[in-house]
């Protein structure tokens, strides 16, 4: 069901872990499946020097976390803002349709971490809106059609 690339990223994920005194930390949860992703950024001179993650989630969630953190490293904030969930999914050679939301989780986690960075430093980043706080969000078990 998963591409080889997804499995590779899942089996040997890069950037697992925490960054101490990170400049930006974002945690988002997916109301759809209950999975949780946390991204740490180290930012210097507007450039993302390092990125790490922790994820409670499916194979796709872990693979997209690893891919996303890899993709943002070395990018400016503006460049990072342009990374979409689709770009992450494409970098993984695609995701099964039911798993596309896992890549959304990665995009949201990145933006949440950038928001945290902006808040801490009194900045505004073009196009960035505050993240939904997962703890306020009800876990609406999307009953699907099953």
């Amino acid at each position: 069901m998963y591409s080889q690339k997804v499995m590779e990223c899942f089996m040997n994920p890069k950037n697992v872990g925490e960054i101490e005194n990170a400049d930006g930390v974002g945690t988002v949860g997916n109301a759809k499946c209950g999975d949780i992703m946390k991204i740490y950024l180290q930012i210097e001179d507007n450039i993302i020097r390092d990125a790490k993650f922790k994820t409670f989630g499916c194979g796709a969630a872990i693979a997209t976390s690893a891919m996303l953190t890899e993709m943002v490293k070395g990018k400016t904030i503006d460049e990072a803002m342009k990374i979409t969930n689709k770009a992450v999914a494409e970098a993984l050679d695609g995701l099964p349709p039911v798993k596309m939301h896992c890549s959304c989780l990665a995009e949201e986690a990145l933006r949440a971490a950038l928001w945290d960075y902006a808040q801490k430093n009194g900045l505004t980043i073009d196009g960035l809106t505050p993240p939904d706080n997962i703890h306020e969000e009800e876990h609406t078990a999307d009953s699907g059609e099953n």
């Binding site: 994920p13 945690t27 209950g34 409670f56 872990i62 078990a141 099953n146």
Partner: protein, 390 residues
């Protein structure tokens, strides 16, 4: 491969396939036809019916072949509802039934019926008292599974059957996970309708049966030709029916000895996991449990990723039931036990079969702790837990 998903499906045994083969290419006549060559097929079906009846304590004319457990469940539930709708509109079931029972019940709810979903206890049990307390004058059907497919808990079927009988209410049980694995006697247990599915006991997929107590008026679900004494239309799946009966016959041979062996492996696995992995929880009743079922929640991690790691090492297990593995919802069964959302997501089911060995359990026990550890090291929930407890 170490196959530990026997509750999802089982391979067809070579003897079963062998019994089926002649009916594909050689004895292929339509059993309803009058010529001699087809009569042999009619006899094959009759023989199969007698075998299945024998293993349930039923009479042959109480057995109707279907295309699987799902059809049997749909037929029993929707059929009885239709037959008894003048008498009442209330059905009693549990909140951990298979979807093949829950969804027909929900369908009936949209069509004027009321359904009580009894809440199971933390081990997945309902009691006969709960059932009795839920009975109303308009109750027409009690449908409660024999054993749960995810957590393996075995329900007190005979007690529930006695309550049903006392109140004159029809009692159906989805015994898909029990038939071929546990001894069953529909008369002693006061079961009026019982669903089974061939591929859960080394028979072919796409085969099943419904036992219907003699005298019970159950209208057809599939209307058409006069097969199965006008109760279930459609050209009979002769090889499938022969295979189902053969498989059931084999499954019931030395059932006790086989179960003792599987149970020992199961307990070895359960104890081994508990000893090696902290923050885990065995789901389902410890004793009243299918001999082959092991279901654990591992805190702080998610089930699918664990399954993928196991799969990479050639270990086939599952989380929840197979037919909902495409879905993102946590298991309704585990939620019903009272597990929080994340733990319900972090469960893995190992279901053992006749051919699994202690060496295979050792492989699982050797790999699993490191996999759980690895996923925990990636988990923000574990991070938080460690921070709070350090």
């Amino acid at each position: 491969m170490i196959y530990l998903d026997h509750a999802a499906t089982t391979p067809v045994k070579p003897e079963v396939l062998e019994a089926m083969l002649p009916y594909f290419t050689e004895h292929y006549g339509n059993p309803s036809s009058i010529y001699k060559v087809a009569q042999r097929n009619k006899k094959a079906i009759d023989d199969a019916r007698a075998v299945v009846a024998g293993h349930l304590g039923a009479q042959p004319n109480e057995i109707f072949f279907t295309s699987g457990g799902t059809e049997a469940d749909n037929w029993a539930i929707k059929g009885m509802a239709e037959a008894l709708k003048e008498k009442g509109n209330h059905i009693i079931t549990t909140n951990i039934e298979h979807h093949a029972v829950l969804h027909p019940c929900q369908y009936l709810e949209k069509n004027g019926f009321e359904v009580t979903y009894l809440e199971v206890d933390p081990d997945g049990l309902v009691s006969a008292e709960q059932v009795e307390a839920a009975i109303r004058p308009e109750t027409i059907l009690i449908t409660i599974m024999y054993a749960n497919n995810e957590i393996g808990t075995i329900m007190p079927i005979a007690e529930i059957g006695a309550v049903a009988k006392k109140h004159g209410i029809v009692f159906h049980t989805d015994a898909v996970q029990a038939v071929g694995h546990l001894p069953i006697d529909v008369h002693a247990q006061n079961i009026d309708l019982l669903s089974l599915s061939g591929h859960k006991f080394y028979g072919p997929k796409g085969t099943g049966a419904l036992y219907v107590r003699r005298g019970l008026k159950l209208p057809p679900l599939l209307h058409g030709g006069g097969q199965e004494r006008n109760r279930r239309a459609g050209t009979e799946n002769v090889p499938g029916i022969v295979g189902l009966a053969k498989a059931l016959d084999l499954a019931c041979q030395d059932m006790e000895a086989k179960n003792a062996k599987i149970k020992a492996l199961r307990d070895y696995l359960i104890d081994g996991i508990k000893a090696r992995i902290p923050y885990c929880r065995l789901n389902g009743h410890r004793e009243k449990r299918l001999p082959n079922n092991v279901n654990f929640s591992f805190e702080f991690i998610e089930g699918e990723s664990l399954l993928l790691l196991l799969d990479m090492e050639g270990i086939a297990a599952s989380s929840g039931s197979a037919c909902t593995s495409g879905s993102l919802d946590p298991s309704h069964v585990l939620l019903a036990l009272g597990l929080p959302h994340e733990q319900a997501h972090g469960s893995v089911r190992f279901t053992l079969g006749e051919n699994n060995t202690r060496e295979e359990m050792d492989v699982v026990l050797a790999k699993l702790p490191a996999f759980v550890e690895r996923l925990r090291s990636m988990s923000p929930l574990y991070e938080e837990f460690v921070r709070q407890n350090s």
